[in-house]
Amino acid sequence: MIRIISILAGVFFTFALLISFSKGAYSYVSEPPAATAANVYHKEPKELELASNGPFGKFDRQQVQRGFQVYTEVCSNCHMLHQVAFRDLKTLGYNDDEVKAIAAKLKIPHYDAKTGEVKTVSGMPTDHFPPVVYGGQGSPPDLSLITKAREGGPAYVYSLLTGYEKQSGDMLAKFPDAKTPDGLYYNPYFANLNIAMPPPLTSDGQVTYKDGTKPTVDQMARDVAAFLVWTAEPKLENRHQAGFAVLGFLIFATILAYMAYQNVWAGKKH
């Protein structure tokens, strides 16, 4: 009885699936899906080697500090860093006074408990990076987690920043609809190819690095990507350190557990 019902149920689902399959197969064969410009011309991120890559990754504090400088002078005009507090910068090597100075340069909206108004005051180390008022096209995403929020992580950010180019005539010939609309910019590393962000790093020397490193567009992009890995994952080094300690212990303990297991079962055929 159960078997009759089950065979009927099996036939029911199979039949429904075959109808869906045949309709899908027919339309796939009769009108194959057209290639879109995005499928054809989208590029995978370039390789980016950072000190934080891999299981032995650590932050290159010099590089991250340079990246912070690029963020402050270029990106912070449009992009927020809401999750990061000024005091977090201490782990990058800035001392208390430097952190206070960085915070004080920025204006943070504070709620005044006495009057109930929101006032703008100079930042304190306990504050987070302030909201950014942006009036242009599109909505610039918050950058705190951007390297974890995009497929490809820091390599994607680096490729995007250095990837602006002109649309090829070849592409315009094949996909005339993919011509970059006004107000957007062509960047093949962006999923839809046309991004609302104008190229932020336009020329070498846009930022003057305090440590004297040559500020080429490529260098600035690498440095800001390294900085953004830190903003997304400030505990990366702690995590790796703890990981080695934990795995070291576990490997040792598992070897002992294996020896105990062999000892218990010695002589007992199984």
Partner: protein
């Protein structure tokens, strides 16, 4: 199972004698997992996964309770509270990654545990109850994991909630009402998030209760074994402690190495980057997919693209997705073979491996965009999935010619069995007649 040769708990320490008279909990533990519980001697590593699953549940409960001390379930604060945990709470990053990867580990372990059941016929009499309780545990796990994933209130959290709660509106007549009632609104929002947090905290303890029933009902007939031949005599078994406490300890060590390697060195490997973007009801992600452990079922859901007479495609998908798990409830009655273990069922064995490949294909398609050729592939794979449980298994179990079984576990391990009385009435349960 109280096999007659089971060792008895005999405390010598006067304190333990006193405790035993007032509250026989140590005696209970001794009889459940100690030297008082005889277990077949020939269990292989596939039998480690039940204990590992219980361990994963413990990890999830411990990390979850501590995370709940710092998490805010209000829609305006949830995402930031998770980042607060990651950045400011001492070892918060460890708790969070342990919990999110713990869910993946829990499902990986449970899938292996379930497939062990498929192969070795663990669902067959007298163990049907264990199997049914197990399917209930799996359904509770799915509900818990789904709600847990909504809590960080990222893009995938919100849109995944939108898709899955939207399925309830597929039911005719009552669908929309149920949908609104479940969500506390017309779309996932603050109301939904708060109730999901409450239920996500509750359900693991319900799972814990069902796990206790699951283990209790296992201890009535005792464990099965790779030959599928029931225990007949003392030489077939070893006491759980120290034999399987030692083996499970080693298995646990291997599991923890793999789990900690992921937690500490690749914690976002199994996640989706979009969940690091705050939920935005105005912006739909390019591809909405659940976590990997739901992919096979997601593929079955999306495989139904055409209406089936009066049943709309959406409802067909929902029915099929739920049915794909509900068929497991009927397995003890669909599979009528008198032989338990796939080791002695050549045809069943082959179809088992086809099922494994099929589920892997469904899983891959579930994580892929809902485009051709993935949709067509998932349709074929879904056809095989339903045919496997509903048509192939019943037919194969009646028609196949099984290989001859060993007389006893002892015979399969030692080659001969001089210990067991050749009295068939000594041990009830499924077994073939000895070669005579």
């Amino acid at each position: 199972m109280s096999f007659p040769w089971a060792q008895t708990y005999k405390p010598t320490n006067p304190l333990m004698v006193w405790v035993d008279e007032k509250l026989p909990l140590p005696r209970f533990v001794y009889n459940a997992v100690g030297a008082g519980y005889p277990v077949p001697r020939n269990l292989n590593y596939a039998w480690n996964f039940g204990v590992l699953a219980g361990f994963c549940l413990m990890i999830q409960i411990v990390t979850g309770v501590v995370l709940a001390m710092h998490y805010a379930s209000n829609a305006g604060m949830a995402f930031d509270s998770v980042e607060h945990i990651m950045r400011d709470v001492n070892y918060g990053w460890m708790l969070r990654y342990a919990h999110s990867n713990g869910a993946s580990a829990f499902f990986a372990v449970v899938y292996i545990h379930i497939f062990r059941g498929f192969f070795y016929g663990s669902y067959k009499p007298p163990r049907e109850m264990i199997w049914l309780l197990g399917v209930v545990i799996f359904l509770l796990m799915m509900a818990t994991a789904f709600m847990g994933y909504v809590l960080p209130w990222g893009q995938m959290s919100f849109w995944g909630a939108q898709v899955i709660t939207g399925l309830f509106s597929a039911f005719p007549l009552v669908g929309t009402a149920i949908h609104t009632w479940l969500l506390g609104g017309f779309a996932p929002g603050d109301a939904a998030l708060n109730r999901f947090f409450s239920l996500h905290f509750l359900l693991p303890f319900v799972i814990l209760g069902v796990v206790i029933l699951h283990i209790w009902s296992l201890h009535i007939p005792g464990s099965s074994n790779p030959t599928g031949v029931e225990v007949k005599s003392e030489s077939d078994t070893v006491p759980f402690h120290p034999y399987y406490t030692a083996k499970d300890g080693f298995g646990l060590g291997v599991f923890l190495i793999l789990y900690c390697a992921v937690v500490f060195f690749a914690p976002n490997q199994f996640g989706h980057p979009d969940n690091y973007i705050v939920a935005n009801p105005m912006q739909t992600p390019a591809h909405i997919v659940p976590e990997w452990y739901f992919w096979p079922f997601y593929a079955i859901l999306r495989a139904f693209t055409q209406d089936f007479f009066i049943i709309p495609a959406k409802l067909m998908g929902v029915l099929a997705m739920f049915s794909s798990i509900l068929v497991w409830f009927f397995l003890p009655w669909l599979d009528r073979s008198p032989v338990r273990s796939g080791n002695y069922r050549p045809l069943h064995r082959k179809f088992f491996w086809v099922l494994v490949a099929d589920v892997a294909v469904l899983g891959y398609c579930g994580g892929a965009p809902a485009r051709e050729p993935y949709v067509m592939i998932s349709q074929i794979a879904a056809i095989y999935y339903f045919l496997h449980f509903l048509v192939i298994l019943p037919l194969v179990s009646s028609l196949e010619k099984p290989e001859p079984l060993p007389f006893s576990i002892t015979e399969s391990v030692l080659g001969t069995d001089d210990y067991t009385a050749r009295d068939l009435h000594a041990a009830p349960g499924l077994h073939a007649s000895p070669a005579a």
